[in-house]
Symmetry: D2
Subunit: 389 residues, 4 copies
């Protein structure tokens, strides 16, 4: 069993005790009144979390990739054109799955650590007759955050549906789904939503549902077909039983527990806390002389950081030393730079203490790996930067 | 939170404390050594459980329907012919999903509560040039068990791949995957495998993998594509990290805990216990004057029972009374007879005590609903029938 | 870790999942607002449970014997006379500890399985100038229940304080502490109160507190001295922090969770259920031809049963067979008859299902031990007797 | 339920997940083989932890005060002389309870924050004919650590039994019970031993047991009388059932889990880690300009710190701000200086990360309370001081 060491990777994260208790409680029937109530609440709360009063939430057993797949499979018909705002590994993945469903995919890329400029996006949209624009809000492989609000506005202006992969952002980065005109937003349970892995979470807005209903061809993916799940979600939200596949009862109780905690904190307070987490973490890393993958601070996510190793530091040795110091960090994921950087998740319930503990372990690991820096500089800078919170 | 009342439906079931404890434990990284070890063990143990030394296990976040979908999506190419041995609701579902992937599906049906005769199956196979035969080992909507061994032999004889939907059977009914020539067997975590819902479990045999590799068209379903998961499963079994989607860490720890319990009991002992569960439950029900959906005792599953309501007994009232007596039972699922019967799950760790408690609640509910019978006859008959165990 | 087998001994018992979840939750400070609230609630609820509006509850880390010791140590001064209504092992223990504190103890005994007649008690009281009368409500070694109401009235009539050892009765047998004039009632957490072992629970009425305050000598036992705890209990109930020893935080959260469940069920309903448990268990045992230790049904407790082994049945073998059948039972405790009987606890959240499961295991064990009886007779009789509930 | 904020008080502390899981697991019989094994192991492991190969461990439901009371009640007879090395609140308590059992108590005190000099102790012993010397290893009210090794040697030299109150030291401070000639050492579960509150832990050495056996008067305290428990402890260690009072099954499983973790880390490594915890915490506090209650660093405990508030800082406001910053700290306890200082526990599984998180919260709270210091200085100093570990 995991001991008290900190899990500071970009998902799964440290979960609240109340969430784990809900997960490990004896399982009820998926048709039991208390489960119907919890599932119904969770659906309502997802709508609040996504700020999508006119959206339709879906909660389905699966990974974040299933959530992406569900968006692609239900919205794309063979021959449809899709524009992928590609800021890393998960842009590639979105393109790959859209192609699987017959889309003609155009990737708009930027150098690693950057993001396509809005005028490039507009230029592409103008010429493209795209049905779909996908955007990774925070690409977990680079820590780059995109400007979803502006991209959604552009998509709308050019008649494309805007699909936001919020796997590494929802509940940690600002997202006003309805107000911004986002048509689908999705995430996975094990990230900032704060629930152990196993649930794909997606909210579809009215235009997305219309596009689904207007399909001329069946959805190629049976399991992900919204048609199978829509009436089930509507039934549970109306506090009525329904069945397509057995819901992941324990995970849904856990989801409801976490959403309660999130909404009780308040979205504004939660986002402010995540901004402080990002600010403090980056300040600490900078004070230790570490660069980062995002090409500028404005591009850097609040939910995670992607620091570059200083010269001479060996990745696996560094991660092993950090673990010895009590903090589990993640290695690189982006194929082009995999060995050059590491990743820190700071989302969910994380606070100043977690950032300090993490930077303490980063200092210890850098020291063990022979990197020269002023001892204590990282934790001091993080502590100081947090004050602005 | 669920109290000490018994959950005796055909999944989710009552889970072992050690399984729930593993589920609710703080989450580790999906790349942590202890998780890699647990996942690797779980894969090895699945191979033991399915008696499939040459099989390839897949553990993927999702429902049992995802497991079915995965079999269909990976094995079917447009135009392939599939024979569905249809004994209820889940035969219909298998047909529907196979059609989604382009199969020409022929359903071989029997009256409700029956199963197609082997000579009918052979006749169909003889004339059909089927690529695929699917069979529901135990259809959860009827409690009918099919003769998988004979059907697999026929499939083999006529060159069809045999896919077994073992959602309501694996770990509770006899299944010798390799020896019987079954090409794919699949289940869901929340049934006799004894793990809360959220995992699709599938083992693919060598011929199934060959058929996958010989495909001329890509798998239509991105999430379920074995190509995405195969190297991940192989890596974890070799105790190496790998990534496609974040594994459902807590559920997989729970799966490994349950498989350890199952294999420690021993498959022979476990199947004998399930035979006793089925025998005792049916004896108790018969002593109360209740018929059952399966047309004969030989067709009845050991993992669940599907008793018919006696005349005059109202289903919802009956279920509510049973719940008041401390046992949650399930209503009907098969559309043709939905209001005429109810369902009892007796699998996993269930024992004589659970059967007696269940029949005690059935007696109490029947009494409250005005059905005449000798009080105590049900529990006495169950207790007596168990003795033969 | 315990598996799903049933623990049917006279404590510890099967606990509710919500109680175990509270116990295993991360520990808060003993001065944290949520703990202060929980402890305060628990004290209020104990007063409700004991039906002692004018009583002072004490919750102290320790066993049931500590609760007894606390009563003895605080009420007895050297030379005080005490009358022990002795119905078994725990009468002996009460006498022993009273003597330790200097009491002159007179035991009023009855044959094993019996209880002293009220006129004997009155005769003793009349002649005795007793300061204290102690009574074991249900002696766990015999399953004999005493008539607390009548005994308390006699004690009152003759000016003796009435101390009730309710370890095996509180929350399962009728006890109107204030109305009946009981001066101290006490129990342990792991019995019918439904909380894992570790808490001594005691309520002192006004006369008991006056007797304490009127002491001429200090309490010999430092840890148990009410003077150390009284202000702490009062503070927590007033929702204020206080300190003498660190409260058993997790157990007290668990206690509060269990008391909530108990009071939500309602004391009347709970006692009726326990009467049904006792009636059904005894009916089942009788139908199998087993006698019981209590000399008549009127003397038998509702919280436990003490059946005698039939001739030829070996105790350890019987208990091992019952365990194999999934139910843990207890052996004998009373020194005079230890090998001749066994003990079944049926309290807390136990229901008909638990009784049926238990009798099923008793039948299986008797069968394995060669005792002749009509198979199923025990479970049938229990099920039938329950109907009167 | 507690959320992810840190509990950094001198007990209860943050417990390991495996310990909490053991605590919350379904309860077994106190006579079940797996419990007997766990209790037996726990006793053996206590002997290892106390480095007392010839000691007799006792594990009894109760608080740390019960452990102290048990030592006093079993060793003192009326008229015995006892010397209390008094370094704070718990020295006063030890004296009070010894007097309860008839001892003539002499307190050897020092100014608050100090400890009596060894020559003073020797002088007192020389003239005193003391049967007993008690010493608080770390007084939780002051954070002062005494020199147990030297005191035990003096006690031995002058024929007094040496009783060590190790409530705030055992498993966190060096203690070689047998080698140093300590006769009784005791602690409570919720401190450095790492188990939620509810268990009194005591090891009695051979001379202490001889003194017990040589008593001329009965032990005044029935519950704490070693005579009631000795055969029970011996039986469980011999893996045999025995009964005096129902053991606190869940807490004992948790104790065994924690002792396994402690011994796996290794006592040497564990003590070195606690030295680093103390050093880092004190360095951080000093860098923020905070004094401490112990009069010198050499007197300061490794398991806790007792920093003085800087002028102008209000205690309750400070603690509330620290809690807002995610860390629960403790107020003062020593009556003479209660409002002048606060207390930080750093024991059990605490690591660098916990110290950094704690100092971050201390900084945040000092800032909010208007104390001037260099932001980040505390965490930087702690991080730097840790490096020497």
């Amino acid at each position: 069993m995991k001991n008290r060491t900190l899990l500071m990777i970009p998902g799964p994260i440290e979960f609240e005790p109340a969430v784990l208790a809900a997960l490990g409680a004896p399982t009820t029937s998926h048709l039991a009144p208390n489960f119907i109530e919890a599932f119904g609440q969770a659906l309502e709360r997802l709508r609040e979390l996504f700020l999508a009063p006119d959206g339709q939430p879906f909660v389905i057993a699966g990974t974040g990739t299933l959530a992406m797949d569900s968006a692609g499979a239900n919205l794309v018909e063979p021959g449809d054109r899709a524009l992928v705002i590609n800021t890393g590994y998960f842009g590639d993945r979105f393109g790959a799955l859209l192609e699987r469903y017959g889309a003609q995919v155009h990737h708009l890329r930027a150098p690693v650590g950057g993001r396509p400029a809005l005028d490039e996006v507009e230029a592409a949209l103008r010429g493209g007759a795209y049905k779909l624009l996908t955007v990774t809000h925070v690409d977990t492989s680079t820590g780059v955050r995109t400007d979803v609000k502006a991209l959604a506005a552009l998509a709308r202006a050019y008649g494309a549906l805007c699909v936001v992969d919020g796997v590494c952002s929802v509940a940690g980065e600002e997202l006003h789904m309805s107000e911004w005109g986002v048509d689908v937003a999705l995430t996975a349970s094990q990230k900032a939503v704060g629930v152990p892995p196993g649930l794909a979470l997606l909210v579809a807005g009215p235009r997305a549902l219309q596009a689904y209903q207007a399909r001329k061809t069946p959805v190629a993916n049976f399991y992900a077909d919204w048609g199978n799940w829509l009436s089930v979600m509507q039934a549970y939200e109306a506090r009525k039983p329904a069945y397509f596949g057995t819901p992941a009862v324990n995970l849904i109780f856990a989801l409801n527990a976490s959403l309660e905690i999130i909404l009780k904190e308040g979205l504004e307070a939660r986002l402010a806390r995540h901004r402080a987490l990002g600010r403090a973490c980056r300040a600490g890393l900078a004070a230790l002389g570490l660069g980062q993958v995002p090409l500028s601070d404005e591009l850097a996510a609040n939910t995670m950081s992607a620091p570059r190793f200083p010269p001479g530091v060996n990745g696996p040795a560094f991660l092993a030393e950090a673990a010895k110091a009590g903090v589990t960090l993640a290695g690189g994921l982006h194929p082009a730079i995999r060995a050059e950087y590491f990743r820190i998740g700071h989302m969910g319930s994380a606070g100043l203490g977690d950032i300090l503990a993490t930077l303490g372990a980063v200092e210890a690991a850098l020291e063990a790996c022979g990197h020269a820096f002023t001892p204590g500089a990282g934790v001091a800078a993080a502590r100081t930067a947090w004050r602005g919170a």
